[in-house]
């Protein structure tokens, strides 16, 4: 593993809980890791297996999904749906040969920016230990999609 390995992380964040948390974390702490690409979703329940696989296909070393706590979901059922999607995704990326730690689902309330920061830094630490993803970027673009 290269010594100066800086992992590429994609984080799918729910608009209601974690997007404000990210903003707060960035404002309050200059140490917030810059190598995370935040993809804001209107609801954590919007995340699909395809989003996560595509992030890996395009060379992400780790993918983090951050939603509301199940009982706080702004759209009532979204966070629960995210749990199901992530369970299924875990099975598939495990089968494909990614280490289980490369993918994580976290749940936060909109006030927990410290907790979020800690979780994401821990996540990055795990990825750093694992080294780069086995995937080299496949191609520039991916096919347009429908759901």
């Amino acid at each position: 593993m290269a010594k100066n390995f800086i992992p590429k992380i994609v984080a799918f964040c729910c608009n209601w809980s974690t997007a404000p948390v990210v903003n707060k974390a960035v404002e309050s702490d200059a140490q917030f890791p810059p190598n995370i690409k935040i993809v804001k979703l209107m609801c954590g329940g919007m995340v699909t297996l395809a989003f996560i696989l595509k992030a890996f296909e395009l060379g992400a070393d780790g993918v983090f999904v951050a939603t509301c706590r199940v009982e706080d979901c702004h759209y009532v059922t979204g966070a629960r749906r995210a749990v199901d999607v992530c369970d299924n995704t875990k099975k598939l990326i495990d089968m494909l040969g990614f280490e289980p730690g490369r993918f994580k689902l976290g749940r936060f309330s909109s006030l927990e920016h410290k907790v979020f920061e800690k979780a994401i830094n821990e996540f990055i630490g795990v990825i750093k230990k694992m080294g780069p993803s086995p995937i080299k970027v496949q191609r520039r673009t991916t096919a347009s999609t429908s759901r």
């Binding site: 699909t48 297996l49 395809a50 989003f51 696989l53 595509k54 890996f56 296909e57 299924n88 099975k91 598939l92 495990d94 089968m95 494909l96 040969g97 990614f98 086995p134 995937i135 080299k136 496949q138 191609r139 673009t141 991916t142 096919a143 347009s144 999609t145 429908s146 759901r147």
Partner: protein, 379 residues
């Protein structure tokens, strides 16, 4: 790589009579009035290359080959379509992928050579498989499909279990590759030649390592890809066989014993096995050797069998659902109790259609795969 000009030459598209017979038999044209293979052939011949390559309709074809068979000028329309898509992709044109492109992403991920896949969980204790051997069973994407389509309630992995069970019954311990990759069928048909070739090359090399002389498939798409497409680009020095052909031969030699099954069934010919490779009799021979089993044919069967409505995980649409419902209705009208399929995608697509809100009882029929049906009938 083939240019559009040579594709026109190879497919003999220049012979088009503009008779429109292709459009009249095309299942997509039946419902989607904006789609016509005749028009596409003509635009390919008469307009600029750019016109056809940017035409969205080139992605809507199911490559079911119904038109190929009907065409009086003997034009290889699906070969033309394959070449057109490969060219179009070079321009940055792309298919509309169903399921958010999850299947395609998964296939491109598999092009990485250093993955440590864990895809062998399905091998139960009572199944005998080996690392090396004369005969290899190619699993395909079955374990992945069951996760991708868990909401459809399908268990396509049973194809693999049953295939190995049948091979074991015949005294064969097949080699199964723990690091097998997708055959690349879907990437090829969606125009991604680069990644198709990576998968093909990887698989061929892995198969060499097992020492296999024969590769057996339960998936018709994998079979077609290995039989027709791989040899176009790579040296393939092993024999390929579909499990129904293997079963037919074993039955002819009297090696298989079935219990009686008192049932009425109907059978769906998958496009890849049927029109692409001309295998119609082998599955029927296998089914007819089960005592008391009655096979009733649908209104359109064998050469005229209607496709299951989607191919290569792209362009699933309202029209696909119409095609699927039409086909399910035909199956139901035979009075059969069971709809026997022999392609994992047919299973996924038909079951998806039956789960539609508007699906009524006249299209609901239980489905089962030919290999699982046959494996369960073995005594």
């Amino acid at each position: 790589m083939i240019s559009l000009k040579s594709a026109i030459k190879n497919s003999k598209a220049y012979l088009c009579l503009e008779c429109g017979k292709c459009t009249s038999v095309c299942p997509v044209s039946k419902f989607n009035k904006g789609f016509s293979p005749r028009v596409l052939v003509n635009r390919t011949l008469r307009y600029s290359e750019n016109d056809i390559l940017t035409n969205k309709n080139i992605w809507a074809c199911l490559t079911c080959a119904m038109c190929d068979l009907r065409c009086p000028a003997d034009i290889a329309y699906i070969d033309l379509t394959q070449a057109t898509r490969l060219e179009a992709q070079k321009l940055g044109e792309e298919a509309i992928c169903s399921h958010g492109g999850a299947a395609q992403a998964m296939m491109r991920i598999m092009t990485a050579t250093n993955l440590q896949q864990k895809r062998m969980d399905w091998v139960d204790n009572d199944l005998k498989v080996a690392e090396k051997g004369e005969v290899l069973y190619f699993v395909g994407c079955l374990p992945h499909f069951d996760i991708l389509f868990s909401d459809k309630g399908v268990h396509t992995i049973r194809n693999a279990k049953s295939s190995v069970k049948i091979l074991n019954y015949l005294g064969i311990t097949p080699a199964v590759m723990p690091q097998e990759r997708c055959c690349g069928h879907d990437l090829l048909w969606s125009g991604d030649m680069e990644n198709f070739k990576k998968l093909a090359e990887y698989n061929i090399n892995e198969i060499k390592k097992t020492g296999a002389k024969k590769v057996v498939f339960s998936c018709p798409e994998g079979y077609r890809t290995f039989k027709i497409d791989y040899p176009k680009y790579f040296d393939v020095d092993f024999e390929v066989q579909h499990i129904t052909e293997l079963l037919r031969d074993a039955i002819n030699e009297g090696k298989l014993k079935f219990r009686e099954i008192d049932k009425v069934i109907t059978f769906q010919d998958p496009c890849r096995l049927g029109r692409h490779l001309g295998i119609y009799d082998a599955p029927r021979k296998v089914l007819s050797s089960i005592q008391k089993l009655k096979l009733t044919e649908m209104q359109r069967s064998k050469k005229r069998a209607v496709c299951c409505g989607v191919s290569a995980w792209m362009n699933c649409s309202f029209y696909s659902k119409r095609i699927q419902m039409l086909r399910l209705k035909e199956a139901k009208e035979t009075g059969a109790e069971l709809f026997v399929l022999s392609c994992p995608k047919c299973e996924i697509h038909f079951n998806c259609a039956m789960k539609e809100e508007e699906a009524r009882d006249d299209i609901k029929i239980p489905t089962e795969q030919l290999v699982t049906f046959v494996a369960d009938a073995l005594t």
